[in-house]
Symmetry: C2
Subunit: 185 residues, 2 copies
């Protein structure tokens, strides 16, 4: 499928809603409607003792509290590592001495062009929580096993958090396999 032209249908402070006119592989033309929202971050805040920060967030669209990691919207031109640090501080009150990029995933590839950049935040220092007015959340510090179980506690799970956690587990496994791997820092 190829883009012939793109049209802005709606613009708001958070994203742009677009309609692209496209040419399909079979030569026919069609439309593709989507959310233009290029970037975001997911942050796993981990302490030296192996505990991690997770949260329960009220999601208006689902009408439910969801088990999550720290998630935040960013702009592509921003330094994503800095944005990860800022989001973690705003949502949990912890400032990270170090942030490590674990990889990228697309949360909703059929309807949004967003790419979520996943970071591990370490060397955490408490500075006091500063939740935003529009957000409703509770923050927890759990052992790694408890955090994993928490993210799998339903009935409804949060896909972006499960994806970020999958990248974190893959990173942990890579460290365990490496001979110089030093767990937890």
């Amino acid at each position: 499928m190829e883009r012939i032209e793109t049209e802005v249908l709606f613009r708001n402070p958070w994203h742009t809603y677009r309609r692209d006119r496209v040419r399909r592989k079979d030569g026919s033309e069609g439309f593709y409607f989507y959310v233009d929202h290029p970037s975001s971050v997911a942050v796993i805040g981990a302490f030296r003792d192996g505990t991690v920060l997770v949260q329960r967030t009220f999601r208006y669209l689902l009408g439910e509290w969801l088990p999550q990691v720290v998630l935040g919207h960013t702009r592509p031109e921003e330094d994503q590592a800095e944005e990860a640090r800022r989001e973690l501080l705003e949502e949990t009150g912890f400032l990270a001495g170090e942030v490590l990029h674990l990889g990228d995933f697309t949360p909703y590839s059929g309807v949004s062009n967003e790419v979520c950049h996943v970071f591990l935040a370490r060397d955490l220092e408490e500075r006091g929580a500063r939740p935003e007015v529009t957000e409703e959340m509770e923050v927890f510090r759990l052992s790694r096993g408890e955090a994993r179980a928490f993210l799998h506690s339903g009935p409804l799970l949060d896909g972006q958090s499960l994806s970020a956690w999958a990248l974190y587990e893959a990173w942990l496994e890579g460290r365990e396999e490496a001979p110089e791997g030093e767990e937890g820092r």
Copy 2:
């Protein structure tokens, strides 16, 4: 945050784009823009020998081929298990004798009300692939370890597939812990 009223801004064959007028917790009013697209399925097709079906799908919005499991849009009033069976057949050519519900996640809870229902499909019988015209994909049958590595092969990963896979791994672990657990069927 509470809904005061909802307005349809755009409707297309795939979803509805809405603006809700809302009242925030602090009493102020605001708008919430989102994709109204209530349901979908993710399907992991698994064989008796432990191999699973995965695919590489071209995603127009990202301009990339992504490593995925079977994903498909559904309507809330449909039988989600039947839709999972149909999507698997359409995308891979395999008919499932049994589908098992593993859980539900929300892929993009800030901008879409979609809930993805995850299914494990077993007792697979080949009936020949029937890919849809608009889809560009390749299907692979891989060992479980290879499939996991495939879903983690970047640069860009697919969040919905990582989430579905996390539910599959949690289900597998539950079976291993159960004394009557019988691996692979």
